[in-house]
Symmetry: C2
């Protein structure tokens, strides 16, 4: 096992740290804000206890995993002896530029410098670095210790072997890496989420359905098959002759919908009042935090279920 | 319990029949094609055995559920004494018009005439009927005995009490009905599926990701949360202050993606060769049927999991 640095110990950094430690890596946790790394470790202690109770730590004890965390007080100490740096500082271009300048200056030449950013292209904060070939984005879905998918997004100058080492590293820790062939705003997952949300907001804004109707249609409908197959395998199995047959039968239906999807809806416009009223009726604002814990427990149970199903029914 | 007619015993009709019978209804199964209803009953026998083994028949025996099927040889016999007709004939406007003319002439006045169509607006085949107020679409996701969501789509003249009776009927049999406020091409679910697929095909066509990358991003990523929350609850929990806070923080990111989503990709164009090659490498054409059974077993296990999770972790 290796040593990994987590730089920035907020929501995303702390979640990565749990995943790295669970995979057996020593984790150096660094955050400029005093006390932030210690708070992240406290969170990890609770999360690891829950993971153990769901059978998601294999045969490890929560305390043994937690013992792999070190809180360090400088970037220099964080980077000492590591193979991988997971940078999870705030989503601000100037911050990323400044942090990457320091990371590249301090880290040994073979160390991979991965950013968790969801919204900034890697070329925008690594162009001028001497070690820009070892920089890339590894964007998780939060929280990465419960959700395997993570996008590897190279800048135009990221070296092929850096991409491959990162992919192997993520696979070995149980993530499901997607390797993008080149960068694009939104990467893969936020582009798909954005396309779906845009249509959902449009349907609500135009009075066809409610916020709750949309959620029912996804959680009791489309996302069931997607949660173990994805959209392409789903349509491949939805026509007797596979995906070509599906496209021949149904593309014309989808094509007809396209023109009415060209108008943007301002999500902060009148539709927001509907969305906010509908959500707050289902869940008062004071209970958002409690509900996030419910979500994480649901995710843990779902991951445990998916493991069993893979074993019993097959991959 | 009531008597329900299933008119058209193909893929969709037979799946509805299983759901109706499981809920305790007597099912009259009719199909113009000789032998089709009998074949559908054979399929139901197998499916019910699997459902029983997954604990999805409550305390019923598969044989008792199957005993509620009657194969009938005329539409008149199918409609005798029923409260609900689920029409699942081929997706062809002329066929729908002809079938609905007969259904409306033969069915007692209080009977609801629901169509399973996914692609034809209810106003297009019910406008001239005397009983057009009792006609609507109830569009399932296949197979409805495993996937709860179903869209109720009224024509402009569908009576409010017909919509409400249909909603109550579906709820009582364990479906999760979405009531659309008015009709639109693609209804709710295919519009959301179409928006997501369109972006997925575009990402593959433009060389950013592979078919398999997209499937990983959804099945190991986005669809995990969606499968128990839907997209709106997901974003409601993705910012400390709920959905308004999320929109304030992130709408600008999604807004930036929108212009690059305005170009249609022909799914049957060059991208199809990539999709077909990728899918057939993962799954030879000869194994599509076997894989569809795997999908149904995965769906059954997922439904059983969701029930347990609702009970143990809460709705």
């Amino acid at each position: 096992m290796s040593v990994v640095a987590v730089v920035g110990a907020g929501l995303i950094g702390r979640a990565w740290a749990i995943g790295f430690a669970r995979a057996g890596h020593e984790v150096r946790l660094f955050d400029e804000t005093q006390g932030a790394a210690a708070k992240a470790k406290d969170f990890a202690a609770e999360a690891l206890t829950l993971l153990a109770s769901e059978g998601l730590l294999e045969d490890q004890k929560a305390a043994d995993v937690l013992a792999r965390f070190s809180l360090v007080t400088s970037l220099e100490k964080a980077l000492d002896g590591v193979v991988h740096v997971q940078e999870s500082t705030p989503e601000d271009l100037d911050i990323k530029i400044a942090v990457y300048r320091r990371l590249d200056a301090l880290a040994a030449p073979h160390v991979v410098l991965a950013s968790s950013t969801s919204a900034i292209l890697p070329s925008r904060f690594t162009a001028d670095l001497k070690g820009r070939h070892r920089c890339l984005v590894v964007h998780p879905i939060n929280p990465p210790y419960l959700i395997p998918a993570a996008e590897i997004v190279p800048a135009p100058w990221t070296a092929a072997d850096v991409i491959e080492r990162t992919r192997t590293f993520l696979l070995a820790m149980g993530q499901a890496p997607i390797v993008m062939k080149k960068e694009i705003d939104g990467f893969v997952m936020n582009r798909m989420q954005g396309a779906l949300l845009e249509e959902a907001f449009r349907l609500v804004a135009d009075g066809f359905a409610s916020i709750e109707d949309i959620d029912v249609g996804i959680r009791e409908g489309l996302a069931l098959r997607w949660s173990f197959m994805g959209p392409f395998e789903t349509i491949d199995l939805n026509a007797p002759g596979g995906i070509s047959d599906y496209i021949e039968r149904y593309q014309q239906i989808y094509e007809r919908l396209f023109p009415s999807m060209q108008r943007r809806v301002d999500w902060a416009g009148p539709v927001l009042a509907l969305a906010e009223a509908d959500r707050r009726k289902k869940l008062p604002a004071a209970k958002l935090g409690e509900r996030a814990l419910w979500r994480d427990r649901q995710l843990m149970a779902l991951m445990a279920h998916k493991r069993r199903a893979r074993r019993d029914i097959g991959e």
